[in-house]
Amino acid sequence: MAHHRPLLDPSPRTPPSDPSPFPFSHTTTSIMTTPPSTQNYASAPPTSSASLPYSSSSRRAASGRSKPQSGRVTIGGSDSSGHASANLGNSASGFSIESLGPGVGPGISSSTRRRYGSRGAESDGYGSSQREISDEDARLVYINEPVRTNEKFEFAGNSIRTSKYSVLTFIPRNLFEQFHRVAYIYFLIIAILNQLPQLAVFGRTASILPLAFVLLVTAVKDAYEDWRRHRSDRIENNRMASILSDGQFTAKRWKDIRVGEILKIEADQTLPCDMVLLSTSDPTGVAYIQTINLDGESNLKTRYAKQETLSRMPEKEGMNGLIRCERPNRNIYGFMANMDIEGKRVSLGPSNIVLRGCELKNTKWAVGVVVYAGRDTKVMLNSSGAPSKRSRLETRMNYEIILLSVFLITLCTVVAMLHGIWLRTHLDELNFTLFYRKKDYSGDEEENYKYYGIGMEVFFAFLMSVIVFQIMIPISLYISMELVRLGQAYFMIRDAHLYDEASNLRFQCRALNINEDLGQVKYVFSDKTGTLTENKMEFQCASVRGVDYSGEKDGSNGERDGSSVVVDGQVWKPKMKVKTDPMLLRLLRSGTEMEEGKHARDFFLALAACNTIVPIIVETPDPMQKLIDYQGESPDEQALAYAAAAYGFVLVERTSGHIVIDVQGDRQRFNVLGMHEFDSDRKRMSVIVGCPDKTVKVFVKGADSSMFGVIDRSLNSDIIRGTEGHLHAYSSMGLRTLVVGMRELSTSEFEQWQSAYEKANSALMGRAGLLRAVAVGVERNLSILGASGIEDKLQQGVPEAIESLRQAGIKVWVLTGDKQETAISIGYSCKLLTNDMTQIVININSRESCKKSLEDAKAMSKKITAISAAAQNSEGGAGSGRVPLALIIDGTSLVYILETEFEEELFELATACSVVLCCRVAPLQKAGIVALIKNRTEDMTLAIGDGANDVSMIQMADVGIGISGQEGRQAVMASDFAMGQFRFLVPLLLVHGHWNYHRMGYMILYNFYRNAVFVFILFWYVLYTAFSLTTAITEWSSVLYSVIYTSLPTIIVGILDKDLSRRTLLKYPQLYGAGHRKECYNPKLFWLTMIDTVWQSLVIFYIPFFAYKHSTISGSSIGDLWTLAVVILVNIHLAMDVIRWTWITHAVIWGSIVATFICVIVIDVIPDLPGYWAIFEIASTGLFWACLLAILVMAMVPRFVIKVFNQYVRPGDIQIAREAEKFGNSRENSGVEIEMNPIPTPPRETTQ
């Protein structure tokens, strides 16, 4: 039998012609494989797609389909959206869609996720590379000729710079970036205004100080961060790699690597740049790589060198050629190039390139040519920052900021008008009054002295009052909020309760500006696989030829040893042990005669052979023992391979041409003659193997729905019926199921298949389609071998977490790619669904029925609500007799609903239900469902997921959480927060979210109050200075007020204060409702605060005013009194609202007051300032202290009374819980036990 290497590109002889082929049949279908909605989504509104890195490519794919003649596509054109800037190749489009469409195949879904070496993808790349990459659009790389390569275009070197600044550029660039913030612009405008001589209210230094201060703080922070980046860059750039020069490989620093050079990588080394593989230590040119740094996936992926290059030794014979590749782009799954070598043109696809950051594994060495280096590498192009979102609270806050601006403008207008009126009434006297001289008589001519006429004076008065009252807009609030969030993030990251022991991961805050949103989440959209479950597949049971071997729960311990293989005197053991069924083991060992035994063996042979698993032999401390680690892209396949190993069918070796399986101690070699990989259209995969007994067999495994179509029903109907029963039972247990079948090919059939297969493989166009046709041709009339059940275990604590979330009034929706039965059973096992729920299932496949079923469902939900309401009334309102509804809807139905007129109905229905379960949904549908809620309600949405298929949903939701699990870091990279386990959601939302919301809400209100009270004091005084904008408070105190006097306490309280302890918050999840009801920040609170502000400012101003009315008091002295009074008052105000007093809180609040005294004293010992010694003069009188005391008490009384009254007469839940925390111990001892009500009653409207 001819040695066949199906994994190699079989058709090197590619004619470089055919300018406009259209090999899109595959592309189209690969999109189709995700439910057709993908196309709907491809034309989704920009809101839903602009932010998704993948959607743009899918849109392109769509447009590409409609315009097939556009053979030449601009490559590397800049894309304003910044995403996927150049993945215009159709291979890229089809590919990324595919990569998004995992959860579709029910069983081996994950195996579709990213198939670098997959045939379909390769043929795509092949097809598209037929189109000329025009020389202008291409990057030309002359192999082993770096000088020539870089001659014309200086390609980026390999030195990377993640740092933003250099020493020289730091100041201008940093300033430029900082002034992107509106707040700083405001500061700047005020400072500039103040520089105009007519308007100089403050001295120059004093007016620039606040701006300079915040700029400095931010600059120091930026500089520190940049220094760290510089350091890591330096380490990175100075790593060594071996480069071919003058016929031998020599070590060179990473930063010196240039495009066009030939690079040799040894096992376990990291790639320094993106390179096209030329040859590897494997004779077939395979290299295994680990992409954990790129996308976080820890499994091995295969890359191939081209046949034309793999046998050459560049260090001996040299190598010449030209690679024409697309311009650098950020699509890590796409690569399009061709290579001219020895007069031939070879196409290169994503499977021929290895990217920077990958690690070479299990391959001794690999040689390649550098095509992208440094900042052009895909990983660098992809290392963008976290998405920036703005928190809900901040958005709300901006309304109030606008209100404050209105206040400010009003105050300024009032002052300006009054100033004008005063001038008009005193117009005659202005020249000779002692305190206001209009004219300057000192010169020979009488000139106007700083007098510009009433109109201008009014205008100047307005601008001056803007300067004086500037802190009405609490600019420092933005900086404080940033610091507070930083502190909150610190505590979230350090929280031991959010640390995942298993993956050794802490909580990650990737977005720093939405911490407080965690306290207001109303909807949680969760992925299932890997989020609710562990995504660690475990083989549970099998049905072989209609007989169920589910294993006995009790007898499993003894059988856990698993089998082992003896190779060269060493014992090789599978890394993972699988629970085995003793009956089945006995059956397997029973000898070859029995029919059942034969089938069982075929079954496990199929499991061991029909996959893409690569066994890796891992050393153990014991030299005589080694572990077999099955590496593969699909966790299901891994589980099956381990299961086969446990039953004595140990896959020990896989090369591209054959596999070696140890069949119960007997090593057998099977030739892999061909493999039809999984595609989501067929939903099955098959492998054609030549067995040692010279027979050729095709093994097929796939989803039940697709498998039962190709099984020869006439042969074994009983078995089929039995298997179907078992499948149903398995999926009801929440297991993922697969059906396995096989057929022995006759010689003629095999030859027929082989010629078709070869032909398809060497076809120039539509190779994927042809291959699929071949596959369909051979995958028929199968005899059924059996079915497997794989368990994806629920993560620890998921049911409890969901229960807590539900009690907290959060609706949990599960969006999964799994099929309905599996989804429902998982729903039950994680307590999302309960037996008392009424399930509404929408499972339709046409537009018409969609409308009807939606209407039916709505009618039903209304009826049920009415019944339960009636029941509730008849019971006199005791308890809640509501029947909860659960909506189960599948992806096909959603195709007809989302983005159509039915959406509104679905929204109404879904919000009426307490649980929504969406199964078989495509990634973009997940985003669509999130958008369904997000666009229609004010409620906060949170999406949590772990895989690439959740990226769109995570980015769509208000808060995106990535689970750093088995499926790579894609979700984490797109998320705002990342953590290890689903159950951490409970402490995150209920504890940290609650705290953050409470802290931030209070802090914003307090900052408004703090600044406004100061402005009002200034304003009242202006009314007594002939509206001339004099400030009794010195300019330095005005400037330092929000920077030093009062800033630290609010920041510390914003970081540290806790209204309730963690225990209480977890004990009563309902307390989370405070965030839903916006209890900590709402317009009512804002207005109350403002009224209180006016009262307090009146007290502060008028008590000294009246007390010193007819006295010799000087402006500076009373100014000092006001300064101290306002600072002490706002700090006491804060102190009254602080709930937990730690030593830090004490230090910072009392410290601020002391610091203020010190500052005031320092200002008053400078003889140059007019207020010299004023504080000592006034503080030595009793009246000063009497005023201070009177101010503090009188100003606080109303707030205190209202607070006490509210807390006692109308206590909110938080207040009661606080009291319970303090006095609860005695109560608990007395045995009063309040039953927790598991079903949330609708929360009380507000505490009015």
Partner: protein
């Protein structure tokens, strides 16, 4: 921000951090600080605390109020407004012409009756009404550097329009404040015996010591065509010009008093004091009032009942609130921290609101 940076760099640098299979646990180290479990005091406003707070405030405030009211009552104050009366009735139609004329006799004699015994020292103030000494243009029109020492004589920035004399030389002390120095004078006599007024130590010691230099002598002062107020003795350094120093401490409010001198003898009730006033100062142009004030002093300063009343009011209010809350707590007793009051435990009909 730095969190973001590390996330980004871990993908790019791929150094030892993430790829190496070391099992350094990243488990956050337990400390009470990082777990936000620092020992803390969690005060709760229990009825006891509330009532005693109000009661204590009331109990403290009422005596203070009484004390300051009492102190204020003991202050004896004689206030005499003389700006109109000191202009002969015939000339009252055009007060401005009277005050601006050099020829008119501005001497004016007033007779004051002492209402009660006044213990020395008796402070003599002048009170100006509607004189905005806190007007921005006025307040800024001075130069503190110039006042401090001789070498800064030429520092007249911000003194406009009284920075330089018409001959271009700097005015010392410059600026509108100094220019408008009050220049009425008072001579007191008690039954034809001259009552000495001590004009020493009426300014702040700190101002005399550091703010007004003892080597700075008035120059070119009031030499322009427009005379604002008093002239200064050019042979006395500024540190001894106490009237100027007092005047230059600009007042906080539009109506203010300035100390003019001290009478260091006791006065008895019903004694008649004769004051001869040189009514020079022009407050007529802006309708300002001028008053002469003789007052004793107390710990709360001059005669001012406001603070006493304020304290009594607040104290009374607090006592009232204390009683109200006692009644409230009796009328609607609520056990603190009773979980049955939680909104999801209390039945919907029995809402507290």
């Amino acid at each position: 921000m730095n969190l973001k940076a590390t996330a980004a760099s871990s993908t790019s640098d791929g150094t030892s951090d993430s790829s190496a299979p070391r099992r350094n646990s990243k488990k956050p180290k337990y400390s009470r600080f990082t777990q936000q479990e620092l020992p803390a005091c969690k005060p709760i406003l229990t009825p006891g605390w509330v009532i005693s707070t109000f009661a204590v405030v009331g109990i403290i405030f009422i005596p203070i109020g009484l004390a300051s009211l009492f102190a204020s009552q003991r202050v004896v104050e004689i206030v005499d407004r003389y700006d109109i009366d000191c202009i002969p009735e015939t000339l009252r139609n055009d007060k401005l012409a009277f005050i601006q004329s050099r020829e008119t006799n501005k001497t004016c004699t007033r007779s004051l009756t002492v209402p009660m015994d006044m213990k020395s020292p008796i402070y003599v103030y002048y009170e100006l009404d509607n004189f905005y000494q806190n007007h921005r243009r006025y307040v800024k029109s001075r130069n503190d550097k110039q006042l401090q020492s001789k070498k800064n004589e030429n520092e007249t920035s911000s003194c406009d329009p009284e920075a330089n004399a018409s001959n271009g030389l700097p005015i010392v002390p410059c600026g509108l404040i100094a220019w408008s120095l009050f220049n009425d004078t008072y001579r007191f006599s008690l039954s034809s015996k001259v009552l000495e007024v001590n004009k020493k130590n009426i300014a702040w010691k700190s101002d005399q010591g550091h703010k007004f230099g003892d080597d700075v002598y008035p120059k070119n002062f009031q030499s322009g065509g427009l005379i604002g107020g008093a002239k200064l003795n050019a042979s006395k350094p500024l540190s001894e010009q106490e009237d100027l120093i007092v005047w230059m401490r600009t007042a906080a409010l539009p109506t203010f008093r300035k100390l003019w001198g001290k009478i260091e003898v006791d006065l008895e009730a019903n004694e008649q004091i004769t004051v001869v006033i040189q009514n020079n100062y022009n407050t007529y142009s802006f309708g300002g009032k001028k008053k002469l004030v003789l007052s004793t002093t107390s710990w709360i300063g001059g005669k001012n009942d406001f603070l006493g009343v304020a304290y009594l009011t607040v104290g009374g209010l607090c006592l009232f609130l204390a009683i109200s809350f006692i009644l409230l707590y009796f009328a609607r007793p609520r056990p603190l921290g009773d979980p049955s009051f939680l909104s999801w435990n209390s039945d919907p009909a029995g809402h507290m609101n």
